[in-house]
């Protein structure tokens, strides 16, 4: 039955309407990924009104290829403007932007795109092969497990993304605090909102990313004159060194893809957090001089998050297809699309609708490969952006930053928020404070709080002695021990 369904899916996927839909989704995704502020969620929301009359095969071809292309092309602004094209590329900027500044953009981008394809394909294949096997994994991660995983993520990034762990921890703590602005999720009590309706809904991720990472670069760009520190336009070979870097780090690619799939599959964790986990693991696995290069243009710091964030797209579909529970924001919209199209996610996706499941996997594989091919083809011309003069780049960058923030949350205060975080980001950069822990604390903080509250209400303090939380605590102890030991050795 499975083979019949697979060949049926192949037959349907390679028809003109489905391929045409995939191409349309791909083009839209490339744009939505490359323009900061636009993202996969917005893209699919805009598509929803148009999918009513389409067959599920065509509709999902458009939407899934859009998601895959966004996860791939969002690397461009991460490299050139220190702005993630969408939040899932936030971890990529940590080493992507320094690579561009070192005049190494072509190699970095090529490697990023290749591992994006590999990660995306691994994510899709895992979805194909392990959908039934991953169901117990999804079920095993209840609130206590999610809480400890989130705390582990914040701790890892706080310790590993900067030179000084104490500064990282403080930045992470600041992020956690910023995440508490808005309504208390349990009691509905307003916190730190100062009577403002705007703040009642919490601080917004996109303006914070834009302010924290992009605006300081505008200032720095104005001082330096161009992104790349070298003035000579010598980008070297892009394709071969990029390919070589992927092959040399093949296990890192696979490991990060697995992190991406699992992160995507656990509802509430998602691609952005998974990319940071993968980055943290890459840093943790490096030794000596290798480790010191992270944050200064280390290619492994690009490979790990890029592989993870593309793989997460396949992972996010696991709880959606298995239980009808979205793994993240993108799959929440996909769930709406399922219901609009009259398709019930769940066991029937492995039964009577198996051909649709297979078609989704095929679309994910093809669109990841196609998006990568397109991005690699335009990498070399795109990499020249790094050598453009600042008087050309600054107006474009400011437009992207302010437009991107405003589109994400259309309110005048959004612009104020972006500028305020721009000042904070500049000060952090100036005084050598890592900004990633702040962002991770902010993104994961509400998740941690909510899951802690649910854990305490449901299990009491006993939630701490469940196997996965215990394992997470052991890893946390190890991370702290290694960081302290390294600090002592450095002194």
């Amino acid at each position: 039955m499975a083979f019949e369904a697979f060949f049926e899916a192949l037959g349907i996927t390679f028809t003109l309407p489905v391929l045409g839909g995939m191409l349309l989704g791909l083009l839209l995704g490339l744009v939505f990924g490359a323009v900061p502020g636009l993202n996969a969620v917005l893209g699919i929301v805009l598509l929803l009104p148009f999918v009513w009359t389409l067959s599920p095969f065509v509709a999902f071809a458009i939407m899934l290829s859009l998601v895959s292309a966004v996860h791939t092309s969002n690397t461009f602004p991460a490299f050139f403007f220190n702005v993630p094209g969408s939040p899932s590329a936030a971890a990529t900027i940590l080493d992507g932007y320094p690579m561009a500044r070192n005049g190494d953009a072509a190699r970095g981008l090529t490697a990023a795109f290749m591992v994006s394809a590999v990660g995306g394909v691994i994510g899709a294949l895992v979805l194909l092969i392990a959908l039934p096997a991953l169901q117990p994994v999804v079920l095993a991660f209840a609130a206590p497990e999610r809480f400890m995983l989130v705390v582990l993520g914040i701790l890892m990034i706080s310790f590993l993304s900067g030179v000084k762990p104490v500064k990282g921890l403080l930045a992470g703590a600041l992020g956690l605090w910023l995440g508490t602005v808005g309504q208390d999720p349990q009691l509905g009590v307003a916190r730190f909102t100062f009577g403002s309706d705007y703040l009642l809904d919490g601080l917004k991720t996109v303006p914070i990313i834009m302010g924290l990472f992009a605006l300081p670069e505008v200032v720095s760009l104005a001082i330096r004159g161009r992104i790349a520190e070298r003035t000579h336009v010598d980008m070297g070979e892009g394709f071969r060194p990029g390919l070589r870097a992927c092959l040399l780090n093949r296990w890192l690619v696979v490991r990060s893809a697995v992190v991406g799939v699992v992160g995507g599959a656990i509802p509430g964790i998602g691609g952005t957090a998974a990319a940071f986990y993968a980055y943290g693991m890459a840093v943790q696995g490096a030794e000596g001089a290798d480790r010191e290069r992270f944050g200064r243009g280390e290619i492994k710091g690009v490979i790990a998050p890029e592989s993870a964030n593309n793989a997460s797209a396949g992972g996010e579909l696991v709880p959606l297809l298995a239980f009808g529970v979205p793994g993240g924001a993108t799959s929440a919209i996909l769930l709406a699309a399922f219901l609009i199209l009259g398709v019930n996610p769940g066991p029937e996706m492995l039964g009577e609708k198996l051909s649709l499941s297979f078609s989704m996997v095929i679309v994910l594989v093809l669109s990841n490969l196609l998006a990568t091919a397109v991005c690699i083809a335009i990498t070399r011309p795109a990499a020249r952006i790094a050598f453009l003069r600042s008087n050309l780049l600054i107006p474009a960058l400011m437009l992207f930053v302010l437009f991107g923030s405003y589109v994400a949350y259309p309110h005048p205060y959004t612009l104020v928020l972006t500028l305020a975080f721009g000042v904070l980001g500049y000060l952090m950069m100036r005084f050598d404070w890592a900004r990633a822990p702040l962002l991770v604390g902010f993104i994961l903080g509400p998740l941690a709080e909510n899951n802690l509250a649910i854990s305490l209400a449901s299990y009491g303090a006993a939630f701490l002695v469940r196997p996965i939380p215990l394992a997470c605590m052991a890893v946390m102890a190890l991370v702290v021990f290694v960081a302290v030991r390294r600090g002592m050795v450095r002194k």
Partner: protein
Amino acid sequence: MRTHPQIRGVTLFVAFAALVFTGSIAVAADYYAGKTITIVCPYSTGGTYDRMSRLAAKFLPRHIPGNPAAIVHNRPGAGGVIGLRSVYKAKPDGLSLIHFTSPMVVRSLTGGIEDIDFKKLTWLGSVGGAHYIFAIRSDRPERSIQDFQTTKTPVRVGASGPSSLLTQAPKFLQRAGKFNLRLVPGYKGYNPMALAMKQNEVDAVSTAGVAIRVNTATREMHKDGTIKLVLSMGGAPPPAPLKAEVAALPKFVDAIADPKDRDAWVAFSGLLSASRPFAATPGLPAEPAAILKKAMADMMADPEFVKTATDQGFVLNTLNSQEAEKLILSVFNLPAEIQDRLKALLK
């Protein structure tokens, strides 16, 4: 040739009526021609209110002269208050509509949205209601009302934010029904709550019957006997596949001993019958108000709309603008002591 004065009169009347009619059509068509209606969904994308808003964005303009465009704007936050406030304060031009859950009106009593007077909204109709059900994992021993009132181990019930029906309904069970429950709040809607029930993180949920049918996890758990429906809480008629089963269940109202608590619950559960209303900005001029009310009634009678909504799992118990307004605002006509009891139960 002389015409009979009566015939002349009738002819004149018909001509005048035709003029008025075509004129009013022209005015109506002029009013919305080339304009865009924004339907605010005060909840996040992907949920049932979002989907119904999108259905309305597709079907409502077909019934409005002038064929305006319609878009959905999701403005989630603060349990729907942010979106509601945006429509409440919008220009009264008939271009800002909202689709929200009617039990939100109770927040006028419990506090937090004193700046919104629900009586001033322009009510357009309600596309449906919900029949609330209490469902529990089968590995818990409780089945009857008495079991829930006397059990020694509290039943863990999933809950959401404070103004969500998913929280308000179990509060009634706990406070008016004296059920021994432990609320586990924090779930962002029904989907994660359903997964939590599958993970044995919560023992029970109190939700709309349609949610149990539409959500894959609970539909399957109900089918394979992992969960059981144990109590009918009331509201609109249940979805057809659950009708027989729900009819045989004990009624929550019978579990409430205190007459004032019972009255409070009856008033609250009445809101469930019109839990999917559409409304427009207060102070809407008569013309766009009449156009929108008629368009909403026509949309709800449109066979294509009914089929599409039903295919998506919605149970349509439609109410016109007057019926919906009367039912929803009845909360404000309750005696003061019942209003106070409602406040106390939902605090």
